[in-house]
Protein backbone atom coordinates (compact mmCIF):
# COMPACT_ATOMS: atom_id res chain seq x y z
CA UNK A 1 0.00 0.00 0.00
CA UNK A 2 2.75 2.42 1.02
CA UNK A 3 4.93 1.53 -1.98
CA UNK A 4 1.91 2.06 -4.27
CA UNK A 5 1.54 5.54 -2.85
CA UNK A 6 5.23 6.15 -3.50
CA UNK A 7 4.84 4.97 -7.11
CA UNK A 8 1.93 7.41 -7.60
CA UNK A 9 4.06 10.22 -6.18
CA UNK A 10 7.03 9.28 -8.42
CA UNK A 11 4.73 9.18 -11.49
CA UNK A 12 3.34 12.64 -10.67
CA UNK A 13 6.85 14.00 -10.16
CA UNK A 14 8.08 12.48 -13.43
CA UNK A 15 5.09 13.90 -15.31
CA UNK A 16 5.77 17.32 -13.86
CA UNK A 17 9.48 17.28 -14.69
CA UNK A 18 9.25 15.66 -18.13
CA UNK A 19 6.27 17.57 -19.52
CA UNK A 20 8.34 20.66 -20.52
CA UNK A 21 10.86 18.39 -22.26
CA UNK A 22 8.05 16.89 -24.37
CA UNK A 23 6.89 20.40 -25.28
CA UNK A 24 10.46 21.36 -26.26
CA UNK A 25 10.74 18.20 -28.36
CA UNK A 26 7.77 19.22 -30.53
CA UNK A 27 8.28 22.99 -30.32
CA UNK A 28 12.01 23.72 -29.79
CA UNK A 29 11.57 27.50 -29.97
CA UNK A 30 8.52 27.31 -27.68
CA UNK A 31 6.84 29.83 -30.03
CA UNK A 32 3.51 28.01 -30.02
CA UNK A 33 3.57 27.89 -26.22
CA UNK A 34 3.93 31.67 -26.02
CA UNK A 35 1.15 32.46 -28.45
CA UNK A 36 -1.48 29.76 -27.90
CA UNK A 37 -4.47 29.78 -25.55
CA UNK A 38 -3.65 28.74 -21.98
CA UNK A 39 -5.07 25.42 -20.79
CA UNK A 40 -5.64 26.80 -17.30
CA UNK A 41 -9.43 26.52 -16.68
CA UNK A 42 -9.41 29.72 -14.62
CA UNK A 43 -7.62 31.75 -17.27
CA UNK A 44 -9.83 30.28 -19.97
CA UNK A 45 -12.91 31.50 -18.10
CA UNK A 46 -11.74 34.87 -16.75
CA UNK A 47 -8.67 35.88 -18.74
CA UNK A 48 -6.87 36.45 -15.44
CA UNK A 49 -3.89 34.33 -14.34
CA UNK A 50 -4.22 31.81 -11.49
CA UNK A 51 -1.34 31.28 -9.00
CA UNK A 52 0.07 28.48 -11.19
CA UNK A 53 -0.18 30.25 -14.55
CA UNK A 54 3.17 30.54 -16.30
CA UNK A 55 4.66 27.52 -14.54
CA UNK A 56 5.01 25.41 -17.71
CA UNK A 57 6.45 28.37 -19.63
CA UNK A 58 8.84 29.00 -16.75
CA UNK A 59 10.02 25.38 -16.81
CA UNK A 60 10.38 25.34 -20.59
CA UNK A 61 12.50 28.52 -20.41
CA UNK A 62 14.57 26.98 -17.62
CA UNK A 63 15.22 23.82 -19.67
CA UNK A 64 16.29 26.06 -22.57
CA UNK A 65 18.77 27.74 -20.25
CA UNK A 66 16.95 31.10 -20.12
CA UNK A 67 17.03 31.66 -16.34
CA UNK A 68 15.77 35.23 -16.23
CA UNK A 69 12.92 34.50 -18.63
CA UNK A 70 12.04 31.49 -16.46
CA UNK A 71 11.82 33.67 -13.33
CA UNK A 72 9.75 36.24 -15.21
CA UNK A 73 7.17 33.64 -16.18
CA UNK A 74 6.89 32.19 -12.66
CA UNK A 75 8.95 32.94 -9.57
CA UNK A 76 8.56 29.38 -8.33
CA UNK A 77 9.45 27.63 -11.62
CA UNK A 78 13.18 27.04 -10.97
CA UNK A 79 12.55 26.48 -7.23
CA UNK A 80 9.95 23.81 -7.96
CA UNK A 81 12.15 22.02 -10.51
CA UNK A 82 14.91 21.83 -7.88
CA UNK A 83 12.48 20.79 -5.15
CA UNK A 84 10.73 18.11 -7.21
CA UNK A 85 13.99 16.75 -8.66
CA UNK A 86 15.44 16.26 -5.18
CA UNK A 87 12.16 14.73 -3.93
CA UNK A 88 12.13 12.39 -6.93
CA UNK A 89 15.68 11.20 -6.23
CA UNK A 90 14.88 10.62 -2.53
CA UNK A 91 11.69 8.72 -3.38
CA UNK A 92 13.34 6.52 -6.04
CA UNK A 93 16.25 5.67 -3.74
CA UNK A 94 13.78 4.94 -0.92
CA UNK A 95 11.72 2.67 -3.19
CA UNK A 96 14.78 0.76 -4.46
CA UNK A 97 16.32 0.33 -1.02
CA UNK A 98 12.88 -0.31 0.52
CA UNK A 99 13.70 2.30 3.10
CA UNK A 100 11.76 5.39 4.08
CA UNK A 101 13.74 8.63 4.00
CA UNK A 102 11.50 11.06 5.83
CA UNK A 103 11.68 14.65 4.56
CA UNK A 104 10.55 16.30 7.81
CA UNK A 105 10.42 19.81 6.39
CA UNK A 106 7.83 18.59 3.88
CA UNK A 107 5.48 18.03 6.81
CA UNK A 108 6.37 21.21 8.64
CA UNK A 109 3.32 23.55 8.74
CA UNK A 110 5.60 26.60 9.16
CA UNK A 111 7.38 25.83 5.89
CA UNK A 112 4.02 25.30 4.19
CA UNK A 113 2.55 28.59 5.47
CA UNK A 114 5.73 30.49 4.55
CA UNK A 115 5.57 29.13 0.99
CA UNK A 116 1.82 29.90 0.84
CA UNK A 117 2.35 33.50 1.98
CA UNK A 118 5.21 34.13 -0.48
CA UNK A 119 3.18 32.57 -3.30
CA UNK A 120 0.13 34.61 -2.29
CA UNK A 121 1.98 37.94 -2.17
CA UNK A 122 3.73 37.23 -5.45
CA UNK A 123 0.45 36.23 -7.13
CA UNK A 124 -1.37 39.32 -5.85
CA UNK A 125 1.42 41.57 -7.11
CA UNK A 126 1.34 39.85 -10.50
CA UNK A 127 -2.45 40.08 -10.65
CA UNK A 128 -2.53 43.80 -9.84
CA UNK A 129 0.24 44.48 -12.34
CA UNK A 130 -1.63 42.41 -14.98
CA UNK A 131 -4.88 44.34 -14.42
CA UNK A 132 -3.10 47.71 -14.48
CA UNK A 133 -1.25 46.97 -17.71
CA UNK A 134 -4.15 45.36 -19.61
CA UNK A 135 -7.50 46.81 -20.59
CA UNK A 136 -10.71 44.75 -20.55
CA UNK A 137 -10.38 43.82 -24.21
CA UNK A 138 -6.83 42.53 -23.69
CA UNK A 139 -7.88 40.56 -20.60
CA UNK A 140 -10.77 38.96 -22.47
CA UNK A 141 -8.37 38.11 -25.31
CA UNK A 142 -6.56 35.81 -22.86
CA UNK A 143 -9.81 33.92 -22.23
CA UNK A 144 -11.97 31.74 -24.45
CA UNK A 145 -14.54 34.53 -24.83
CA UNK A 146 -12.62 36.59 -27.38
Amino acid sequence: MESRREIVAITALLLFLLMPLVILLFDPGADHLQSSQSFCPFKMLTGLPCPGCGMVKSMVSLYRGAWMESLEFHLFGPVLVLFFTSTLVVKIVGLIRKKDFPCRWLYNPRVAWSVAIILGIWHLTRLVSFILTHNLEQILKESIWS
Binding site: P41, P51, A116, H123
Partner: protein
Amino acid sequence: MQIIDNIPEFKRDPLVVLLLGFITCGLYLIYWNLQAAKVFNALNGREILSPVVAVFAGCIWPVNMYFFFIIGRDGLPALDQRLGIPERDQSILLMLLGFFFPMIAAMIVQSEINKLYN
Protein backbone atom coordinates in the same frame (compact mmCIF):
# COMPACT_ATOMS: atom_id res chain seq x y z
CA MET B 1 -9.67 26.43 14.31
CA GLN B 2 -11.72 24.24 16.66
CA ILE B 3 -10.68 20.68 17.32
CA ILE B 4 -13.54 18.19 17.46
CA ASP B 5 -12.48 14.79 18.74
CA ASN B 6 -8.95 15.38 17.38
CA ILE B 7 -10.31 16.33 13.94
CA PRO B 8 -9.95 20.04 13.17
CA GLU B 9 -13.28 21.67 12.33
CA PHE B 10 -13.33 22.83 8.75
CA LYS B 11 -16.97 23.33 7.83
CA ARG B 12 -17.71 25.51 4.82
CA ASP B 13 -20.55 25.79 2.36
CA PRO B 14 -19.28 24.08 -0.85
CA LEU B 15 -20.69 26.98 -2.87
CA VAL B 16 -18.63 29.41 -0.79
CA VAL B 17 -15.52 27.34 -1.63
CA LEU B 18 -16.30 27.70 -5.34
CA LEU B 19 -17.09 31.42 -5.11
CA LEU B 20 -14.08 32.27 -2.97
CA GLY B 21 -11.89 30.23 -5.32
CA PHE B 22 -13.03 32.43 -8.20
CA ILE B 23 -13.12 35.75 -6.38
CA THR B 24 -9.60 35.33 -5.00
CA CYS B 25 -8.32 34.14 -8.40
CA GLY B 26 -7.39 30.72 -7.00
CA LEU B 27 -5.65 31.97 -3.84
CA TYR B 28 -8.37 30.59 -1.57
CA LEU B 29 -7.71 27.10 -2.94
CA ILE B 30 -4.20 27.21 -1.46
CA TYR B 31 -5.67 27.92 1.99
CA TRP B 32 -8.43 25.35 1.41
CA ASN B 33 -5.88 22.66 0.48
CA LEU B 34 -3.88 23.33 3.64
CA GLN B 35 -6.98 22.97 5.85
CA ALA B 36 -8.29 19.93 3.97
CA ALA B 37 -4.87 18.24 4.30
CA LYS B 38 -5.01 18.89 8.06
CA VAL B 39 -8.45 17.22 8.31
CA PHE B 40 -7.49 14.16 6.27
CA ASN B 41 -4.18 13.72 8.10
CA ALA B 42 -6.09 13.79 11.40
CA LEU B 43 -8.69 11.35 10.07
CA ASN B 44 -6.00 8.91 8.96
CA GLY B 45 -3.97 9.30 12.11
CA ARG B 46 -0.86 9.82 9.98
CA GLU B 47 0.34 12.34 7.44
CA ILE B 48 -0.99 11.19 4.10
CA LEU B 49 -0.72 14.70 2.65
CA SER B 50 2.24 16.99 3.13
CA PRO B 51 1.18 20.59 3.81
CA VAL B 52 3.93 21.84 1.45
CA VAL B 53 2.56 19.66 -1.34
CA ALA B 54 -0.94 20.92 -0.45
CA VAL B 55 0.21 24.51 -1.07
CA PHE B 56 1.54 23.68 -4.53
CA ALA B 57 -1.52 21.54 -5.25
CA GLY B 58 -3.55 24.73 -4.96
CA CYS B 59 -2.19 25.89 -8.27
CA ILE B 60 0.15 23.54 -10.08
CA TRP B 61 -0.57 20.65 -12.40
CA PRO B 62 -0.03 17.64 -11.84
CA VAL B 63 0.45 18.27 -8.12
CA ASN B 64 -3.27 19.00 -7.83
CA MET B 65 -4.03 15.66 -9.54
CA TYR B 66 -1.82 13.87 -7.02
CA PHE B 67 -3.42 15.76 -4.13
CA PHE B 68 -6.98 14.86 -5.12
CA PHE B 69 -5.95 11.29 -5.98
CA ILE B 70 -4.62 10.78 -2.45
CA ILE B 71 -7.75 12.39 -0.96
CA GLY B 72 -9.93 10.05 -3.03
CA ARG B 73 -7.88 6.97 -2.25
CA ASP B 74 -6.85 7.43 1.38
CA GLY B 75 -8.72 10.47 2.69
CA LEU B 76 -12.35 9.84 1.81
CA PRO B 77 -12.30 6.11 2.75
CA ALA B 78 -11.03 7.14 6.21
CA LEU B 79 -13.86 9.68 6.39
CA ASP B 80 -16.41 7.01 5.37
CA GLN B 81 -14.97 4.69 7.99
CA ARG B 82 -15.38 7.41 10.60
CA LEU B 83 -19.00 7.97 9.54
CA GLY B 84 -19.67 4.21 9.58
CA ILE B 85 -20.71 4.01 5.93
CA PRO B 86 -19.24 1.72 3.22
CA GLU B 87 -15.87 2.97 2.02
CA ARG B 88 -15.72 4.42 -1.50
CA ASP B 89 -12.70 4.92 -3.69
CA GLN B 90 -13.21 8.16 -5.63
CA SER B 91 -9.56 8.61 -6.52
CA ILE B 92 -9.91 8.56 -10.32
CA LEU B 93 -12.95 10.85 -10.38
CA LEU B 94 -11.31 13.36 -8.07
CA MET B 95 -7.99 13.15 -9.90
CA LEU B 96 -9.67 13.98 -13.23
CA LEU B 97 -11.77 16.73 -11.68
CA GLY B 98 -8.65 18.04 -9.98
CA PHE B 99 -7.04 18.35 -13.39
CA PHE B 100 -9.93 19.95 -15.29
CA PHE B 101 -11.92 21.74 -12.56
CA PRO B 102 -10.00 21.86 -9.25
CA MET B 103 -12.61 24.19 -7.73
CA ILE B 104 -15.39 21.66 -8.42
CA ALA B 105 -13.25 18.87 -6.93
CA ALA B 106 -12.73 21.04 -3.84
CA MET B 107 -16.50 21.59 -3.62
CA ILE B 108 -17.16 17.84 -3.69
CA VAL B 109 -14.51 17.12 -1.07
CA GLN B 110 -15.81 19.97 1.12
CA SER B 111 -19.35 18.54 1.01
CA GLU B 112 -17.88 15.19 2.17
CA ILE B 113 -15.87 16.88 4.95
CA ASN B 114 -19.02 18.71 6.13
CA LYS B 115 -20.67 15.33 6.83
CA LEU B 116 -18.23 14.92 9.71
CA TYR B 117 -19.81 17.80 11.61
CA ASN B 118 -23.49 17.06 10.93
